[in-house]
Amino acid sequence: MAQPRILILRAPGTNCDAETAHAFRLAGGTPEVFHLNRFLESPQLAADYQVLCIPGGFSYGDDVAAGRIFGNQIRHHLADALREFREEGKLVLGICNGFQVLIKSGLLDTDDANGPAASLTWNESGRFIDRWVGLQTSGNRCVFLQGITELTLPNAHAEGKFVVRDEQSLMKFEQNGQLVLRYANVAGTVAPYNPNGAVADVAGMCDMTGRVFGLMPHPERFVDFTQHPQWTRRDDLGEGAGLAVFRNAVRYFS
């Protein structure tokens, strides 16, 4: 397949769709941005795409809880379409608000008999924080993180603290190799390395197949060297480290 097609879903309040499309384009994909209403009307649209991405923003204003209303819409109306999408071997990426939506929609395999066992909630500071963070990957389950060991990316959220219902759930996600991206002390980053109090420093997780991935940091905000907060201090004048995430998605279909 030459250029995989990427469906970028925007809901009321989504606001990172344009730069996410730009990142996929730089990576060699063919992105299209669709309004959620259109997808709700015709979920079969997904058949034409290889990657579905829910970008960052404030879907429905983060009202009630970040990602909750969009996540419920998926549970109520799109669960079958997305299950099918995943079973066909396709990819789903949720960035920031997209991660909040994915985790609240159950698509990251976090539900069990007692309901959702993981969530994203208010930062320990109780505030929205925009800050660059260091990240390390673990395991090789996640398609999007192949070949990446560490990177720096910006975080920008209020409700990004990863939490679990109980210790067993954490162990289960750990054993399943789902906790694939963690905050870490990476060269060039500044303490506190875990910016929001996330349990086990989790910054991103994938589902059991490794093809559905959600992360709080914004890889689409680091696809060019001038986006790095210290680019005037560095000699690194190439592409940004975040682009690799999008390249992995595109490469998966080539």
């Binding site: 309004h35 259109r38 009202d63 809880a65 209303i69 109520h76 920008a156 500044v190 001038t226």
Partner: protein, 974 residues
């Protein structure tokens, strides 16, 4: 049936709202320590919702079971009131007043319907169980912390209602206002009591007009005139006739702004001829200039001072929303690409026990304003990239909130033209009773009664509604489905339709406007300033397509009239004509405001120098820690400054990502390297000495901030925002005219055109003090200069943090004896001294030379000298880069010998400190030929700033970077 679903934190989880209330209660001296438990609640009114369904909603929609638990019951059930801790705590419940925007309720209502459940209404509430407080303490907590009376109410104990609906059906009745028999006193009483805030000459003009027509005006006609003629909408004072007198003599202005600031722009555009890069200035919602072949950029800064004084969160929130709509309503609609926000507050440590009645605690004001800006800007997906905060006790009753927005617009979409017989289409939010009288209210001085008088002028925004409008708007713009657009701001439909129809005429069908709830009168619909609405002029043949596109994204679009070519404004409710005014009366009928203005410069008093030791490091730390200079990281990090992906120079830079940038650089087109540079300049302290030099300094500062990051000084556009006291006072207006004269003079020489501006007058607060005397606090003259520069290639941008430990430090620009209004004077409480002046010819040459050096890559760090002068700039560069420096004062370029204090702390303009690699020194110096500059020191690995007369001499400043940085970071690290 009224269900309530309460959401509590699970045991062991943080209860942040409760913690916040306890902290503020302590700050305000209400109670030293309180045990508080909080919960969020949702009230659901439905005749059919079952208990199981309510439980399902609680667990699947409202509660996050990993961190929260819920209580579900019908209102009236004791479980909703009982203290979760089992103690005897008192319950306080806070609800928004009926009709106040509640975005969470709107979203939640739709989300409940998505479950297939039917619902009549939904409201949110907050609950607090406070243990161990007296009744008096509870009352203080209610009124001073929990609820702002302008928008919220507190209920102590259980809720006493079982229905939520607001509004009742409206019975049409045409209202006329008897004017005929009123004398001057009667007219003025009507003006005041009807909240028209018109002046006597204006009331007399209206009186005469209707007498000639032989009828009385209707209420809506009078309101329309008051809105259109308000200071907010017509800027009648500054665009009016002014007789000005200063030390150089007298000058008569027919239109002061036009003859000063606009005139300079007009002159520059004439000089430039074919190279004119201005596109649209002082006519649209924002000024537009050329960016590249394909796009133009526009910039507008608004103020939202009076609403922010009454309700800081809502005022700032809707201030941001409003200026974004200015961008959306510029030309055929621009895409907002970044925000800038500047605030003026009383110091946050102002004692709270003796505040005048009606004044909110400055710390609370600051928290509220920052949250309001954050919540709107972040939700809109617009990066907030630049700003500043100034503190002065005189902002106590009148905090200032300046909100700016930059937009990107296709070059061929920069102009609009309403076509006759186009539909008038309202797009976006519904009209409610909120925001009535915001436009005329801003013409009035604030008093402690303002809150009760003008509660309706205070609103909460709904950012996601505006984001929806923005998304669909850009799509319909590109399909060319409308011929003109403007925003609904102050004055609501009245101003928007009145302005758009000025040349043609308009007929408005008020009963068709979608309303939030029943019961609005035709006049309320017409003048409501409900947020998130745009007005479009749509050719009838495009209407269906436009309507369908809006509907597909859940955005309401409604035809509310047509631009009928009658040159009249005809307002109808059903078949009934409720208003009929000639457009000429509205737009040309206002009698000119005639004012006198005078300015007498103060004699310069010499600065009485305090006795100083031989070590000024402590002075430097005090200046670094003064509120104006101190790090604003607490604010900056709450704003998303990187959304849209174009961030190049961020507000915080350096080795530890905490150094203060001079300006922001943003790349609005992601596949281009061309950048927009945003900066500002302001210094109210200089205005106390001379407003001419204050304005000149602010302009120099805004420009040098842009140049310091790499902007091309020949492509910088400026905005003016005048916030002043009561301009009916001749001296107050005189100080403003004097500042406008400086804007004219500097703009012309520096070739930096003003492209847009705004004023907010009457920023005075009156109250009766404890001895029964009337006191008035006027703000200091507060001119904000915002600058929008451009940079050919963002990869040539420079940041202010030192990069290497073996570089040379060059000081560009001349240092003078200018400690007047300085921060050195501030920390020592000194009056007098010479105010910093600007030599615009020298400034122009300096900026051009420096830009050439930066463009060639000869400058690796660059920081402007402003508050605190050389010592502060050097300290900031050092601790931002984690690199030390040794500086010799003997080498600082001056025309006459200056004392060490002056060399260190003088705030002379047009100065920039540069880090230059030794191998580039010769070429750097060549670029700066003819411009005052000198190598004044070197960087070093040792993390220390050392400033001495000569290298071997004993140092005046000798501080470890960690100490200096701590002094700078701590004061506002909340």
């Amino acid at each position: 049936m009224l269900w309530e679903i309460d959401i509590h934190p699970l045991p062991g989880m943080p209860d942040r709202d409760a913690e916040r209330v306890a902290v503020v209660a302590k700050e305000l001296g209400i109670a030293r320590s309180l045990t508080i438990h909080s919960a969020r609640g949702f009230l659901l009114e439905s005749d059919v919702l079952s208990a199981n369904e309510a439980e399902r909603l609680a667990s699947e929609l409202f509660t996050d079971g990993t961190v929260e638990r819920s209580v579900v019951a019908r209102v009236g059930d004791p479980t909703l009131v009982a203290s979760p801790n089992g103690n005897s705590a008192s319950l306080l419940q806070v609800l928004l007043k009926p009709g106040v925007m509640d975005p969470v309720a709107q979203s939640a209502e739709a989300a409940v319907r998505d479950f297939g459940y039917s619902l009549t209404a939904l409201r949110t509430l907050r609950k607090y169980w406070v243990d161990g407080a007296t009744d008096q303490q509870l009352a203080a907590i209610s009124t001073r912390i929990l609820a702002n009376d302008a928008i919220e109410q507190t209920i102590a104990g259980p809720l006493s209602f079982d229905r939520l609906q607001v509004g009742s059906d409206y019975q049409f009745q045409l209202q006329t206002v008897p004017l005929k028999d009123l004398d001057d006193a009667g007219l003025m009483r009507l003006s005041r009591e009807g909240q028209l805030y018109l002046q006597l000459a204006e009331m007399q003009t209206i009186h005469k007009h209707f007498a000639e027509l032989g009828r009385e005006p209707t209420d809506i006609e009078l309101e329309t005139l008051a809105q259109t003629w308000s200071e907010h909408c017509s800027h009648k004072t500054l665009a009016g006739r002014i007789a000005y007198r200063d030390e150089r003599g007298e000058r008569q202005f027919d239109n002061m702004l036009k003859e000063t600031i606009f005139a300079a722009t007009t002159e520059l555009r004439k000089q430039w001829g074919d190279d004119d890069w201005c596109v649209s200035v002082f006519r649209d919602n924002a000024g537009i200039v050329r960016f590249n072949e394909e796009f133009n950029i526009c910039f507008k800064v608004e103020t939202h001072n009076h609403p922010s004084a009454l309700e800081p969160y809502g005022g700032a929130n809707t201030g941001v929303g409003g200026v974004i709509r200015d961008t959306m309503g510029t030309g055929m609609g621009a895409k907002p690409i970044c925000n800038t926000d500047v605030f003026c507050f009383a110091p946050p440590d102002t004692p709270t026990n003796n505040l005048p009645p009606g004044v909110l605690n400055p710390k609370q004001v600051m928290r509220g304003v920052v949250s309001g800006v954050r919540d709107y800007g972040n939700r809109m997906g617009i990066p907030t990239v630049n700003g500043a905060v100034y503190f002065d006790p005189r902002y106590l009753g009148n905090p200032l909130v300046y909100c700016g927005n930059v937009g990107l617009i296709p070059a061929d979409k920069s102009f609009k033209q309403v076509q006759p017989d186009d539909f008038i289409v309202s797009v976006g939010g519904r009209t409610g009773r909120d925001g009535i009288h915001g436009a005329t209210f801003s013409s009035a001085e604030l008093t402690h009664e303002s809150e009760s008088l003008s509660g309706g002028a205070v609103q909460i925004g709904n950012a996601v509604e505006e984001k929806k409008v923005l998304d669909v708007l850009l799509a319909i713009r590109d399909r060319e489905l409308y011929s003109a657009i403007t925003d609904c701001g102050a004055g609501g439909f009245s101003s928007a339709v009145g302005e758009m129809g000025e040349e043609i005429g308009a007929e408005v069908w008020l009963d068709r406007a979608p309303v939030k709830y029943a019961g609005l009168s035709y006049t309320e619909i017409w003048i409501s300033e409900a947020q998130e609405r745009m007005v479009l002029s749509v050719p009838p043949e495009s209407w269906e397509e436009l309507h369908a596109l809006c509907a597909a994204e859940g955005v309401e679009a409604t035809v509310i009239g047509k631009f009928a070519p009658t040159r009249r404004l005809v307002l109808k409710y059903g078949e009934q004509v409720v208003g009929d005014l000639a457009m000429d009366l509205l737009h040309k009928g206002r009698p000119p405001v005639i004012r006198s203005a005078s300015y007498m410069p103060h004699e310069v008093q010499p600065l009485e120098m305090p006795t100083l030791g031989s070590n000024l490091t402590a002075d430097l730390c005090r200046i670094l820690g003064s509120y104006n200079v101190a790090s604003k990281e607490w604010i900056i990090r709450q704003y998303d400054h990187e959304v849209q992906g174009g961030s190049v120079v961020k507000p915080l830079v350096g080795a530890e990502l905490d150094g203060p940038s001079d300006a922001a650089v943003v790349r609005p087109v992601l596949d281009s390297r061309r950048g927009v540079v945003i900066a500002c300049g302001m210094n109210p302290r200089y205005g106390d000495l001379d407003t001419y030099h204050m304005a000149a300094s602010a302009i120099d500062e805004a420009i040098r901030n842009c140049v310091a990051v790499g902007a091309d000084p020949s492509r910088i556009a400026l905005l003016d925002n005048f916030c002043w006291g009561d301009c009916e006072k001749s001296e107050t207006l005189g100080s403003l005219v004097r500042a406008a004269l400086a804007c004219h003079d500097l703009s012309l020489v520096l070739e930096t055109p003003f492209i847009s501006g705004k004023d907010s007058l009457n920023n005075e607060f009156s109250f009766v003090d404890s001895t029964g005397k009337k006191q008035t606090i006027a703000i200091p003259p507060s001119l904000l200069i915002s600058a929008m520069g451009q940079i050919d290639d963002v990869s040539q941008a420079v940041t202010m943090d030192l990069k290497h430990s073996d570089s040379l430090l060059y000081l560009v620009g001349e240092s003078k004896d200018e400690l007047g209004g300085s921060h050195f004077a501030l920390i020592h409480e000194l009056d007098g001294g010479q105010v910093p002046k600007v030599d615009p010819k020298v400034a122009k040459q300096t900026f051009a030379a420096l830009h050439n050096a930066i463009k060639k890559g000869f400058v690796c760090a660059c920081h402007d000298l402003s508050e605190g002068g050389l010592a502060v700039a050097a300290a900031e560069m050092c601790f931002a880069g984690g690199i030390g420096a040794a500086i010799e004062l003997a080498k600082v370029p001056t025309r006459e010998p200056l004392s060490p204090v002056k060399l260190l702390f003088s705030e002379s303009n047009t100065r920039i400190l540069c880090e230059v690699r030794p191998e580039h020194a010769d070429e750097f110096e060549k670029k700066l030929l003819g411009v005052s500059h000198a190598c004044v020191g070197r960087t070093q690995a040792e993390p220390r700033l050392r400033i001495a007369e000569k290298q071997e001499g004993s140092p005046w400043i000798n501080g470890e970077l960690a100490t200096l940085k701590k002094a700078w970071k701590e004061p506002l690290a909340w």
